[in-house]
Symmetry: C2
Subunit: 342 residues, 2 copies
DNA sequence: ATAACACGCTTAAACGTTTAAGCAAATAGA
DNA sequence: TCTATTTGCTTAAACGTTTAAGCGTGTTAT
């Protein structure tokens, strides 16, 4: 690789000091302390030699890498990919670069990625935490590297976070199914200690309670990450053929997708034959004969807020904890309404 | 942010020189030139102070940032998100970090992102080039920063690249439709100078020729990036209602998705009423009553090859150009066969 | 005439590493 | 006993920046 041109090269070419070149390139020619002709010459030579500042050296001096680390469960998951995209845009516009890593929902891997990115001197992290990663986050807090949790958080760990109102979202979803007259409503959720998942279950329970329906544990099916597909199949079989529920609420994007696929394979039309509500959006929903009611997350706002909060923290001397909880919307538009618009 | 501990901190704590600490931490205690007890003490103190090397400073010295820049059209596009994921895994395993940017298929933006990442002293780039970005790539070549093109390339620009055999893929796809007895086969492709798109058209033409069918320009529909949705709608209307084609080949992921959605909205069952072949995979295909024949790209191999070639180039003194062309497979499994397996 | 200041630039140190070179003390070889 | 080598460490310079401090000239004010 050819040597990139440095301030020194420009300085030598013109017989001036490196300092002077630095001042000019940074427009720190304070109070006309540099002769306009000199400045002009420097700028021109810089252009000719195609000078591009070495951000590494700059960072070393300033102790700011202008880089943020993004750690999500899996960058190839559409939800996180979309999030990554908005974070990229926001960060770049604020002159920050984004380096990323995937945790695969595994707290050991998360720690590994975190350490890996830390040696890169990131100025801060945006993290979608996994189950059981609280210890790692406590350590991270001690190191005083700023970070913002996204999508998920821990109730008893004061940190910055950007989340959605999972309880309300779930309440809305369940109410929607109740309003359609269903009483036997199933829910499929992950087995996880993550509070945001629990709140989704809580929202469901609250909605039932408010309608005077006492929840039936048999309608509530847990699925493990490890045995994802088989668990969903079993859960659905239970709900549909054993318990004969009238509607199903899928607590996440991935659960909804896999669940709908399974139902599709069994020839059960959703929502034609089985009312459902899904969490999060998906291109797949466009390919159903009926509109799939789902909870729409404000992904763009989430990404932007996370970046802004993080950069705020990076620049504060005494950072205060910032938490943001965004509202979701329940999309229940019927296919006919949809058609009218296009 | 708390000061991260440096070699100096360890050195001062023990009253030794920074150099010695550096030697120990890098296991460069060549030929027993450091007393084992000293080494032991240094290692322990390093652990106690939670020392993590500053990769920035290291990079400055070594002129290697151990970072690669990934530029794709849009990280939120599933194809690129998947690619990014395999690139991340491969890079991390080789001790490289990945920073990314999206070009939005716009060569101006690509140049901007490229410059932005260049100041970060990346050791090399993996780039999915856009239309009209050849000039930028020529400049990049001059700068001698190694790079590997992925998914797309330019015929008259000798560079490293990892692509698929688009011609063959397209040939396979069209042959599949021919074998089903169709003669009036439509194709929907992007209006673009990118050679890989052209080769997809060429494969289609070749297949027709080999079957002794003379291609009809009216069966070949161009779509612009700018007016994507409307163009596809018009193209489909033309092919289906005017030309009354018997089958359609969609040249990309996005075209297939949007096209199928449109057909779905019109109530045209694919492939029940209209045979199709799509390019690239998609979760959506699982939600059709029939199997959607499609060309499967070896995304994992593409990502891995790209990283390996790039890092090879970074380490070569006199790099040779490396090109890799991978074979695709045409997936034509019927839904019944699929069911048998699950 | 002389002090004061503005101007246009340079010197030097620092950020955290790496690495070649060097040096004093201990040990070995003769 | 004297030289040569090994051992265990240090000095110094460098990577490309930034930034406070400084230093001659020349101009202005008194």
């Amino acid at each position: 690789m050819k040597k990139r041109t440095s301030l020194k090269d420009i300085a030598e070419a013109l017989g001036v000091s490196v300092t002077l070149v630095s001042y000019v390139m940074n427009n720190k020619t304070k109070e006309g302390r540099v002769a306009p002709e000199t400045a002009q010459k420097i700028r021109q030579t810089a252009k000719e030699l195609n000078y591009q500042p070495n951000q590494l050296a700059r960072s070393l001096k300033s102790k700011r890498s202008q880089t943020i680390g993004l750690i999500v469960a899996d960058i190839s998951n559409p939800f996180f990919a979309n999030l990554a995209r908005t974070i990229e845009d926001e960060a770049h516009s604020l002159n920050y670069t984004v380096i990323f890593g995937s945790s695969d929902e595994n707290h050991i891997k998360l720690k590994k990625v975190l350490d890996f990115l830390t040696t890169r001197q990131v100025d801060g992290f945006i993290i979608a935490p996994t189950d059981e990663c609280k210890e790692t986050l406590i350590e991270l807090k001690k190191s005083q590297i700023p970070f913002v949790l996204i999508d998920r958080y821990f109730e008893d760990l004061p940190t910055n976070y950007v989340i959605i109102d999972n309880f309300q979202a779930s309440l809305d979803a369940t109410n929607h199914l109740l309003k359609k007259g269903h009483e036997k409503i199933g829910i499929i959720h992950y087995k996880s200690e993550l509070i945001h998942f629990k709140q989704r279950v809580n929202g469901y329970l609250k909605a039932l309670e408010m309608s005077g329906i006492s929840p039936d544990p048999k309608y509530m099916q847990e699925v493990t990450y490890a045995n994802f597909e088989a668990d969903i199949k079993a859960a659905l079989r239970n709900l549909i053929y054993e318990e004969e529920v009238e509607a199903i609420f899928f607590c996440t994007n991935t659960l909804a997708l896999e669940g709908l696929k399974q139902m599709f394979d069994w020839g059960i039309k959703a929502p034609g034959q089985m009312d459902v509500v899904a969490f999060d959006q998906n291109v797949v929903y466009d390919f159903f004969n009926y509109f799939i009611p789902h909870i729409k997350q404000p992904i763009k706002e989430m990404g932007q807020e996370a970046v802004r909060i993080l950069i705020g923290q990076i620049n504060e001397k005494v950072p205060k904890i910032n938490t943001v909880c965004l509202r979701t919307t329940l999309e229940t538009q019927t296919i006919d309404q949809l058609k009218l618009k296009t």
